[in-house]
């Protein structure tokens, strides 16, 4: 997408005519045809494309849902139900959109895990990585606001709990919450702005994904060795080799996704999502969607106010610590390229880093478990230890390993790697 060089000569005169005026076909061939990919990329490299497909599916089903949706507190719930019951294949639209969000997050979390393990965030891909974090934040905002739209018990109470969090900010907190709500409680103005933003943000994501992929096509893809391609022997053309491999992964992923949509469409949803929002009746368990649980656990891991020693003057209330930690846990990823300065990219050749990252993946599930439970007893302690490890890893272990780790010898090139070209 960067610079096109000279135009190709196409045998089809119409294609040629267009390409001489707008070199779109030249660009497509360069970026998606002959584009060199490391020949040793494994299936973990397919999840970016899968995430992109999910984004497309979400936008398509979302627009069709919007055609039948009414953003008003008294009508929203019933309009969604009407879509399910009275619109042709409306139930399919809704179940795809509802479960699609979950599968979008599954794809993106695997995509990020791949980037972490193989050091894809390191030079020269720092900006590419940072745009990725921006996408993650936008996705979270979009999913959160989308979940509000059916105006169910979970919608209304989820919005109440999460927006109230901002009241922890000193001085401006309460004013900020009123401003977010558009009033003095979670009500119609809140729903209206969430709808407007939920419609808008996916297109912003689309724009950032474009930049993300543009940056990718400048640096090229990383690979399991973390060694940049050096000769043509290290690469294969994107089409048909990697495109076909990506399609295998995509088709398997979609099969599982559709299996859930058609046979277990409610498996990932709370029962209270099928009750209308009632501001007078708090549900027994207010639980966010599974993909927010690890961060929800970090939010609730902080239980002690920090006071000036020997006084009762509160410096940093527990609630504010939680809010800062939760946002910090994601913002911190922006700085990862500078927290981990070990010159070796791939976890394969970093014996200590490898286990620390695996432990981070386990930690993610520990935090998820903790976030799903009431914040007391063992789940709370698990959440606190999990939070501790998360921050210690990024802020202490990785900086230290940057200089102290004894890396294994790195292959001279991709094709020189003994694991590169065996049959798989």
């Amino acid at each position: 997408m960067a610079h096109f060089g000279e135009n190709k000569n196409f045998s089809n005169p119409v294609v040629n005519w267009i390409d001489n005026r707008l070199p779109i076909f030249t660009m497509l061939i360069k970026e998606y045809g002959v584009f060199p990919m490391p020949r040793n990329v494994n299936y973990m490299w397919s999840f970016g494309g899968i995430a992109m497909t999910m984004l497309g599916i979400m936008i398509l089903t979302g627009i069709m849902m919007a055609m039948n949706y009414t953003p008003h507190t008294t009508l929203a719930f019933d309009s969604v139900e009407r879509t399910m019951r009275d619109v042709n294949f409306g139930w399919l639209l809704r179940y795809i959109h509802m479960n699609g969000a979950s599968f979008f997050f599954i794809a993106v979390y695997i995509h990020i895990a791949r980037g972490l393990f193989y050091g894809s965030y390191k030079k020269p891909r720092e900006l590419l990585w940072m745009f990725g974090v921006v996408i993650l934040l936008l996705m979270m905002a979009t999913a959160f606001m989308g979940y509000a739209l059916p105006w169910s018990q979970m919608s209304g109470w989820g919005v109440t709990v999460i927006t109230s969090m901002f009241s922890a900010i000193p001085l401006v907190g309460d004013g900020l919450v009123t401003w977010l709500w558009g009033g003095f409680s979670v009500d119609n103005p809140t729903l209206n702005r969430f709808y407007a933003l939920h419609f808008l943000l996916p297109f912003v994501i689309l724009g950032v994904v474009f930049i993300h992929v543009w940056a990718l096509h400048v640096t090229g893809s990383n690979n399991p060795t973390g060694v940049e391609p050096k000769t043509p022997a290290d690469t294969v053309p994107f089409a048909p080799y990697v495109s076909t491999k990506d399609s295998v992964a995509l088709v398997f992923f979609l099969t599982i996704f559709l299996g859930v949509v058609f046979f277990y469409p409610l498996a990932l949803t709370e029962v209270d999502h099928f009750r209308k929002f009632d501001p007078m009746q708090t549900p027994a368990h207010i639980v966010p969607e599974w993909y927010f649980l690890p961060f929800y656990a970090i939010l609730r891991a902080f239980t002690m106010d920090i006071t000036i020693p020997f006084t009762t003057v509160v410096l940093l209330p527990a609630k504010l610590q939680g809010v800062l930690a939760m946002f910090g846990s994601i913002i911190l990823l922006v700085f990862l390229p500078w927290l981990d300065r070990n010159p070796v990219k791939s976890g394969r050749f970093r014996p200590v880093f490898k286990w620390c990252i695996w432990l981070l993946f386990v930690d993610f599930f520990v935090l998820m478990y903790s976030g799903a439970k009431p914040p007391e007893g063992l789940p709370l302690i698990m959440g606190q230890l999990g939070t501790l490890y998360y921050f210690v890893l990024f802020l202490v272990i990785l900086p230290v390993l940057s200089f102290k780790e004894k890396n294994l010898p790195v292959p001279a090139s991709i094709s020189a790697d003994p694991g590169c070209c065996k049959k798989h």
Binding site: R39, D78, E81, R82, M84, R85, W91, L92, Y95, V236, P240, Y241, T244, K245, S247, V248, V251, F252, L254, T255, L258, G259, V261, F262, F263, P265, L266, V271, D272, F274, R275, A284, W358, L359, V362, F365, V366, Y369, K373, G377, L378, P379, M382, C421, K422, K423
Partner: protein, 252 residues
């Protein structure tokens, strides 16, 4: 990693073994329902009997605002039968050309007639408690069908020493063990038109299945389509794997 996994397992066991609080409802026993599972379909005869129970008993208190009479054709009723059922109700309509509100017999396109004009009226008639709308009840409760069946069959004498508030009834499956709904179903309450024995359990099972259908009327269409989609996708997976193997064979 193994250690962490076993720690997780221990945590799960501990949290499952913690005794429920006294006020927490008992977990409803699990039952087999014909509409469960990948191949499960609704039992139409049971749905028709369940509709009869709803119409003759529950409809006195519980609304079903998301359903229309025409939806009943899915239970196997003919359009004529549905017209007759709808016409039994007086539906508020208007204003007419004189500006007056009026009532007219129901039509298949009308939503189910609600027993009360609004929630306040429903509460007033039920000692302050609101009978929830039933259109989505089985999807909106933990343990769905098992829960509804258990509530209907779970009325008992209160245990000695249990402090039951006046006007409430003891039911161990309801949160807090006291429910404002008096025992709605009794042995032999509804006389089935198809001659099925009207035990309490039979009536409870039938109305539970009717409510399951009401909350998910497209389930059969969904599963039927899903089966075809799955067969297609699995074949697609196979073809893609074969194509990829063939393509990559020459570059290894």
């Amino acid at each position: 990693m193994k250690k962490t996994l076993s720690m997780l397992a221990v945590a799960a066991v501990i949290s499952a073994a913690t005794p429920a609080f006294a006020s927490e409802a008992e977990v409803p026993p699990h039952q087999k329902w014909p509409h469960q599972g990948v191949f499960g379909t609704y039992d139409k005869a049971a749905l028709q009997r369940g509709f009869q129970v709803y119409k003759e008993v529950c409809a006195a208190c519980h609304s079903m605002k998301l359903l229309s009479y025409r939806d009943l054709t899915q239970l196997g009723y003919t359009p004529e039968q549905v017209k007759t059922v709808a016409a039994e109700y007086q539906i508020p309509d208007g204003p007419n050309d004189e500006g007056e509100m009026f009532e007219r017999p129901g039509r298949p396109a009308d939503r189910f007639h609600s027993p009360f004009p609004n929630d306040k009226a429903a509460r007033a008639a039920n000692g302050g408690a609101l009978p929830p709308d039933m259109s989505l009840l089985s999807k909106a409760r933990e343990h769905g069908d098992d829960y509804i069946y258990s509530i209907l069959t779970g009325y008992e004498e209160k245990p000695a020493g249990f402090d039951l508030m006046p006007g409430l009834n003891y039911n161990k499956y309801f949160a807090g063990h006291q429910i404002a709904m008096a025992k709605p179903l009794n042995e032999g309450q509804v006389t089935y038109t198809d001659g099925t024995a009207n035990t309490l359990e039979q009536q409870a099972r039938d109305v539970t299945q009717f409510l399951a259908w009401a909350s998910e009327p497209h389930m059969e269409q969904r599963k039927g389509m899903g089966l075809k989609v799955m067969i297609f996708m699995l074949a697609f997976c196979g073809i893609m794997v074969a194509a990829k193997r063939k393509l990559w064979a020459d570059i290894h």
